[in-house]
């Protein structure tokens, strides 16, 4: 590993002789291609496997599908009868439902709270900000049992309510929105207020439109987080009708229960993965490092 770093070290300056520069380029592209293959390879292997027969997925795990079979995909999309098919539709609908609700809630609440923390002067603002920063320090896994206990006490386990509400507040999103509101020019808001616009009206018709890029960024991050959420749903429900894609897939722990039907499993894994990649690509221009900057306090 450290060897890689050393190699990299030698590629920083730009003052090489033409021959050295060419070598450097070849080495850089070589290393990048190798790693691109490692990062994308598993997806390609699973895509290929989803077009194999169960037997050939085991006997020929890496190669191209031969014989080429679409039966796994037919099963996934319900063209042939399969127990998994019926479930996959339900899982997908559940995933879409909870993702939509969580995203709308997170974006709405984060922009309201973010705006209040950025611009509105109210007694206790510092304490609220402190609380939100403190909450960001609480590791999610630690909340697993505590949240289960509360859901149980409130008797809202195995309801959509219980799956959605604990996830509505995302303190990182609040913080991100606060930072973004603060970066907006204040003069426009002042002008609106002098013209007599109420706080909420200023927020809704002037501030929010200006914050569109960051709203989109928070939306995409919320969609990704909610779609991929697993642990919270695991404690919020134990009934199959509430299974999301992640929860449903997790039944095939360690490949068990699939009867080694890897094509079907790989297809289902891709169905879970691909929507998020599409969402990300569609909105990629709003990110360019911002996704990472979001986690930078």
């Amino acid at each position: 590993m450290s060897a890689t770093t050393e190699e990299t070290a030698s590629t920083i300056g730009d003052q090489d002789s033409p021959a050295a520069a060419a070598t450097k380029k070849v080495v850089s592209y070589g290393v990048l291609t190798f790693f691109a293959l490692i990062y994308l390879g598993p997806f390609l292997v699973s895509l290929a496997a989803s077009f194999k027969t169960p037997a050939s997925a085991v006997s020929n795990p890496l190669g191209l599908p031969n014989p080429f079979s679409t039966s796994a995909w037919k099963e996934l999309f319900g063209f042939t009868d399969s127990v998994l098919t019926i479930k996959l539709g339900r899982w997908t609908l559940n995933s879409i439902l909870v993702t939509a609700c969580i995203t709308v809630g997170r974006v709405g609440l984060a922009s309201l709270a973010g705006y209040a923390l950025a611009r509105l002067k109210f007694p206790g603002r510092k304490q609220v900000l402190g609380l939100i920063l403190g909450v960001m320090m609480v590791p999610g896994v630690v909340l697993l049992i505590p949240r289960f206990l509360v859901l149980k006490q409130l008797d809202i386990r195995n309801t959509y309510f219980g799956m959605i509400f604990p996830l509505l507040v995302d303190c990182a999103a609040i913080f991100l929105m606060k930072q973004n509101f603060e970066a907006l020019p204040i003069s426009v808001e002042e002008a609106a207020r002098i013209d007599g616009a109420s706080t909420f009206r200023t927020f809704r018709s002037i501030v929010l439109p200006m914050a569109r890029p960051s709203l989109i960024a928070v939306t995409v991050l919320s969609i990704q987080g909610a779609w991929n959420e697993f642990t919270m749903f695991l404690v919020a429900t134990d009934r199959p009708e509430f299974n999301t894609l992640t929860l449903g897939l997790s039944q095939f722990q360690g490949g068990r229960g699939s009867g080694s039907n890897y094509p079907l499993l790989m297809g289902a894994a891709l169905v879970t993965t691909i929507p998020i990649i599409i969402v990300f690509f569609t909105f990629q221009r709003y990110f360019n490092g911002d996704a990472a900057a979001g986690s930078d306090k």
Partner: protein
């Protein structure tokens, strides 16, 4: 910093008010300003109240409830506050840390498993992310955004879906064993294999059995020899999975940091005769310190929380249970909510201690490398 900005805006408004206070118009203005302030204060609370209510119900109350439950033997039957629930004081914590028994033994091996996970994943993913970011930061490189996206895709994807893909890759007749076969190595049983890497290395050095002092001394009820087992084979796959998934995010973070370093600085260093290694060591890395510290901190917090990957790939088999995973199995599977809650607080404490220590070290040393 930005708080200061809005604060100074407020101060400006104050100053304006007092200057004009002589005239009636100004008095009016001040009155309306006061009114506006009060209204603004109300709106402020109104805007944050949904968040505060939700945080109270789904974060603060759960933590307090779990704290209470951690001092009981509640098994989920009836309410936790009913008289039938036995209150046991610190027993749950003592069972984990002091009292000899199965609970402590399981906790010790979970702690060990997670410890090896942390000390392998954090440095490796940081170095990999740094290497990729440095290569991608070259000015004359084409297809940058393709590579950046390719490295980031695993970070975007569902850990459960990716875990399933890895289950397939590392199954006995899977792709990894095929690749291993190209190098003439016989297939490895990756899943459900608790052989420790450390013990394997000791074996290579001719130490097959624990030397007396390692076998006879124990910490938390587990012999030193078992503490030195290293990560199990099954844990190694989860380590690879974790590095593969998170390094993309960290690469983006480091790349964003690198891009703020002006190129002219590197050129100046080159003109002054600095070698590239010197430039990296004395210029680039120190300027990247903030991002590296952040990546290590996020790595430390994340690695003590590993859960989904274990759930989908091993379900704790083959010495892959971690304290966080043990919280889940103790609570949700065994119904021992008191013990599970106590464990959750211990995991929290571990994460806090690790990040505090890491921050302290990060502050003390001026140099990163």
């Amino acid at each position: 910093m930005s708080i200061a900005v809005s604060e100074s805006v407020g101060a400006f408004a104050d100053a304006g008010g007092s200057e004009l206070s002589a005239s009636d118009a100004a008095r009016e203005a001040r009155k309306s300003l006061k009114q506006r302030r009060r209204k603004e204060g109300m709106m402020g609370w109104l805007f944050v109240s949904p968040v505060l209510i939700l945080l109270t119900v789904f974060l603060i109350i759960p933590i307090l409830l779990a704290l209470y439950v951690s001092f009981t033997k509640w098994n989920g039957q009836g309410g936790p506050f009913s008289d039938k629930v036995e209150r046991v004081g610190l027993k749950n914590y003592k069972d984990l840390l002091v009292n000899d028994g199965l609970t402590r033994k399981n906790f010790a091996s979970a702690l060990r498993n997670n410890f090896y996970f942390v000390i392998l994943v954090v440095p490796l993913q940081t170095l990999l992310a740094l290497a990729l970011a440095l290569i991608l930061n070259q000015r004359k490189l084409k297809a940058k955004s393709f590579f950046r996206t390719a490295f980031y895709i695993p970070s975007l994807s569902s850990s459960i879906a990716i875990g399933l893909i890895f289950v397939f890759l590392f199954s006995n007749s899977g792709g990894i064993n095929t690749i291993v076969g190209w190098f003439g190595i016989s297939p490895v049983q990756w899943v459900n294999n608790s052989t420790g890497l450390g013990h394997t290395l000791f074996g290579l050095a001719g130490i097959d059995k624990a030397p007396g002092f390692l076998a006879n001394n124990d910490v938390l009820g587990m012999s030193l020899w078992n503490w030195l087992s290293g990560p199990s084979t099954s844990m190694c796959i989860i380590i690879i999975l974790a590095i593969w998934t998170t390094s993309g995010t960290f690469m983006l973070l480091l790349l964003a940091g690198l891009q703020t370093i002006p190129h002219s600085i590197n050129e100046a260093a080159a003109i002054d005769g600095a070698t590239r290694r010197q430039t990296l060591r004395y210029l680039t890395l120190p300027m990247l310190k903030k991002q590296i510290v952040l990546v290590v901190t996020l790595g430390l917090i994340g690695t003590w929380q590993v859960f989904d990957q274990i759930y989908i790939m091993s379900d704790g088999a083959g010495e892959t249970t971690t304290p966080a995973y043990l919280t889940y199995t103790t609570g949700m599977r065994e119904g021992r909510y008191g013990a599970a809650s106590a464990l959750a607080f211990i995991v929290f404490a571990i994460i806090l201690i690790f990040t505090a220590v890491q921050r302290y070290i990060g502050r003390e040393k001026g140099d990163v490398a």
